[in-house]
């Protein structure tokens, strides 16, 4: 027999060991949570760090003399003359006014490359809209060339290469000192569609495309999902067919989203001959994808309505359909709505199926209808992120920030609605 003191000692020692293990296990848990939260933090920090400059545009403000002789233009209302006129000349002249000692063709060409590619066509649009400006001097704001923009915003960022000559850099520095070149809030981002030039590219087209697509998705999937949930919870007999439907719903909720893209490609575009790249087809595909999830969340909402409500309604002679439509559905509606908002937020970020149905096209115009070629926000981000042009990276990150803002506000709305409308029985 061991003596009692050593036995107590043994127990104490084993207890010590066990508590150490307990603390270690607890630490593992904390580390796991920390890893998850840290990843989230790094992800957000990285995107903000990459993308905050996307909300800035670089502009050059010049006093442009709209000299008719210089442009070979006498009458801005004449279409042929407008087509032939030289709109770069007055801009170059205005730039040369900043640097009077610039001589020679090569130097002039370098100087003229400080303003963006679309400066001349902006000037043309201005004259077309207001022909009376011909012959006057106007203070005009142009978007700077993309290379200038990279230099101004990212001169000391090693990830960017500045493609300016030393002479051009000197000019830009000087113009910045004079206040001619400046950065301001990038309103272009929220006014334009896609463009080949990062400075002129915007996400408005993609936002409108996303809205149209989501509209189709919501209009189709919410009623169908709710109706299916009502059937399965309230009317479905317990038989093989019902079981089969349930198995299908649960499986579809876990099918990879790209498979729905194949479905859309083969059925809507292939069999029905619908056009590619249009919000209707995108909305249809996303609707098929979201219906199972909406059914599942709506069923949960219906289940949470207590049976006493049903019994009371039936007790005063309501038919099964009246019980459901007059009592169960209104009480379950808040839950269904919040569930659907969350599902819609997920659908808003969905990319893969839309790639397959051709929503990756390069689309400059803002779509103005359900049958108009469009792209959506996540696809636009994908397109920009895989673009070789370095200026698009910050736009992609800025787009991500806009997308995340939409998603987080939708989720916040759902949480707020749940808190407000939730009913405890």
């Amino acid at each position: 027999m061991n003596n009692p003191t050593s036995q107590a000692e043994l127990v104490r020692r084993s207890l010590k060991r066990r508590y150490r293990k307990e603390r270690r296990f607890r630490l593992y848990g904390m580390i796991a949570v920390a890893i998850a939260l840290l990843s989230l933090l790094i992800l957000f920090a990285d995107i903000i760090q990459k993308g905050h400059t996307g909300f800035l545009k670089t502009t050059i403000t010049l006093d442009v003399e709209l000299d008719g002789e210089l442009m070979y233009l006498t009458d801005p209302t004449d279409r042929d003359e407008m087509a032939m006129a030289d709109f770069t000349a007055p801009i170059l002249a205005a730039l040369k006014a900043q640097f009077p000692d610039v001589e020679g063709r090569a130097a002039e060409r370098e100087l003229s490359r400080l303003v963006g590619t679309y400066a001349a066509s902006d000037l043309r649009d201005l004259l077309r809209a207001e022909p009376g400006l011909l012959g006057t001097t106007q203070t005009l704001e142009f978007l700077a060339h993309d290379t200038v923009s990279v230099y101004v915003k990212h001169a000391d960022n090693p990830r960017y290469t500045v493609r300016l000559s030393d002479q051009q850099k000197q000019w830009v520095d000087e113009l910045q000192a004079r206040g001619v070149i400046d950065t301001s809030f990038n309103d272009v981002l929220f006014q334009n569609g896609d463009s080949r030039e990062p400075a002129n590219a915007g996400i408005l087209g993609a936002i409108v495309g996303s809205m149209l697509t989501m509209l189709v998705t919501l209009v189709l999937s919410f009623p169908v999902g709710v109706a299916a949930a009502i059937y399965l919870e309230e009317f479905a007999p317990r038989n093989r067919l019902t079981d089969f439907i349930e198995v299908n719903i649960n499986n579809l909720a876990a099918v990879p989203s790209i498979i729905f893209g194949l479905l859309g490609l083969a059925v809507f575009i292939g069999a029905f001959g619908m056009p590619r790249s249009v919000p209707v087809v995108g909305g249809l595909v996303l609707a098929l994808m979201t219906v199972p999830t909406i059914i599942i969340s709506s069923r949960a909402a219906i289940k949470s309505v207590p049976p006493s409500i049903r019994e009371a309604a039936e007790g005063i002679g309501a038919s099964r359909m009246q019980v459901v439509l007059h009592h169960v559905l209104p009480l379950a509606m808040p839950g269904m709505l919040t569930g659907s908002i969350i599902v819609m937020a997920q659908a808003l970020g969905e990319t893969a199926p839309l790639l397959l149905i051709g929503m990756v096209a390069f689309i400059v115009d803002i779509p103005d209808g359900l049958f108009d070629a469009a792209t959506v926000l996540p696809v636009q981000i994908y397109l920009w992120a895989s673009s070789a042009e370095q200026g698009f990276i910050e736009l992609a990150s800025a787009g991500i920030m806009v997308l995340l803002t939409f998603m987080i506000s939708m989720n916040a709305l759902a949480i707020w609605l749940r808190k407000r409308l939730e009913r405890r029985w």
Partner: protein
């Protein structure tokens, strides 16, 4: 009228039918001494009229919109003279684009061949006719349905039964949409897959170790057939998924345990929504993060310790995918752990076990089947994930197990083969559908097993 305008019109007509029948049922009831002498409530008569006008109108409209394009297309193509008839599907589509461009006015008719101009005129004509017929027929059907219901408003007709039966059938059809979707998926991949196997033997597809789906521009080109062996794609998918699960399963499981057993109420109420936020981030954002931040970081890190890593390493894609799946694993494990009865917990604690011992020796074994089911679901997620790998993994099909090398996956290949313009009927395009079929089958099997395991586990403790 356009479909987009007809749709609201049908709904408005149905609303009018509703109102008229409502009025009529009250008028019919008035001489009898009030609505209680009717077999059904006025709203039932009204709802019946709305249903009888809207349903036929909407069905007709849907069918018309679905088949209009196809029918017009085939009539126009059939009208072309002998010599113009295209010999491949690709040419046919080009020709039809030309015709519709002429019809739309965006292509100068002087530049197009005579037959195309004629076909364009026919196309325009047919479209106009179709528009007129569609508008007339849809409105007619809607109004007839409404009129029929309106005349059948009578005290002895029980409108409630018919409304309720119709509604129940509509609900059933909505529930059946899930089955139709599954069927749609199967049918949309199966035909192309069968055609693909007509060109590439199924054994070569399943057991071939080389994948390079380029097709020839000229028939006599060297290496014209391409190679369609799916093994490198599957090992690539597996490699990335295993990395993702190695990240996600321990992290997700341990955070679920920490949150359900150790964390205080305050901490939980903060951490849980943050984890859910991680789940809500779109995959394209993760793809961006993987391709532009994690992959270069891993490449530089590997270089600094003397290893060579591809700038599209499997490790980068796998790590980020793992982060994406963490909340998925943790919420599933959380459910499962919470489903273990309190009595087991109490029993273990009463015997003097510490919390971690209770967790490891009692709750975890009891919850294991459920957790396994959750992991299977997570694996199916990882295999089917597209955007992260499209953006961060490579295109070259390397048969390797080195996580620093670039691999490609099934989903990457489907996406790259089908994005943009495709050659119709080429083995390259068809192979994407065969890959889709394979992906569908594999994820289906994983899902079925996982759902079965989870359900069985739940029943055990209910």
């Amino acid at each position: 009228m356009q479909t987009a305008n007809l749709l609201p019109l049908v709904l408005i007509l149905a609303a009018v039918a509703f109102w008229l029948s409502f009025q009529r049922s009250r008028a019919v009831a008035a001489p009898l001494g009030g609505v209680r002498h009717l077999k059904a409530l006025p709203t039932h008569y009204a709802a019946r009229a709305a249903l009888w006008s809207a349903i036929p109108g909407l069905v007709l409209l849907g069918l018309w919109a679905g088949f209009e394009g196809k029918v017009i297309h085939s009539i126009v193509m059939a009208s072309l003279p002998e010599g113009m008839a295209p010999d491949s599907a690709g040419q046919a589509s080009l020709l039809f684009t030309q015709i519709s461009n002429v019809a739309r006015g965006s292509l100068n008719p002087d530049l197009a061949p005579e037959a195309v101009v004629q076909a364009a005129a026919l196309l325009e004509n047919l479209r106009e006719q179709s528009r007129v017929f569609k508008t007339v027929l849809v409105i007619l059907v809607t109004v007839l349905g409404a009129a029929f219901a309106w005349f059948r408003v009578a005290p002895h007709v029980n409108a409630r039964n018919s409304v309720e039966t119709t509604l129940r059938r509509i609900f059933f059809v909505c529930a059946a949409v899930a089955v139709l979707t599954t069927m749609g998926i199967v049918f949309s991949v199966i035909f192309e897959t069968i055609r693909f196997f007509g060109r590439v033997p199924i054994t070569e597809f399943l057991f071939g170790t080389s994948w390079s789906p380029q097709t020839a521009l000229r028939p006599d080109q060297v290496g014209a057939d391409g190679a369609f062996g799916v093994i490198p794609l599957f090992t690539g998918t597996l490699l990335i998924s295993v990395i993702a699960l190695l990240v996600a399963v321990p992290t997700g499981l341990l955070s679920a345990i920490y949150l359900s057993e150790y964390a205080g109420k305050r901490a939980r109420s903060v951490i849980k929504p943050l984890l859910e936020l991680l789940a809500g981030i779109p995959t394209v954002v993760y793809g961006f993060f993987a391709a532009l931040t994690v992959a270069p970081f891993i490449r530089d890190l590997a270089e600094s310790i003397g290893l060579t890593a591809s700038s599209q390493s499997a490790l980068a894609a796998g790590l980020v995918m793992g982060i994406m799946i963490i909340p998925f694993v943790s919420s599933l494990s959380d459910d499962v752990i919470n489903a273990v009865p309190q009595s087991l917990r109490d029993g273990s604690l009463a015997l003097g076990a510490t919390q971690s011992e209770t967790m490891k020796k009692v709750i975890f074994p009891a919850a294991l089947p459920g957790i396994m089911g959750g992991i299977l679901l997570a694996a199916s997620r990882a295999i089917g994930e597209t955007m992260i790998v499209v953006m961060a993994a490579g295109l070259a099909a390397n048969l390797t197990a080195n996580p620093l090398e670039s691999v490609t996956t099934v989903t990457v290949q489907i996406a790259t083969l089908l994005v943009g313009d495709q050659e119709f009927n080429s083995a390259k395009t068809l192979s994407a559908f065969a890959l889709g079929m394979l992906l569908f089958i594999v994820t289906l099997i994983l899902n079925v097993i996982a759902l079965k395991v989870v359900r069985k586990y739940r029943e055990q403790y209910e």
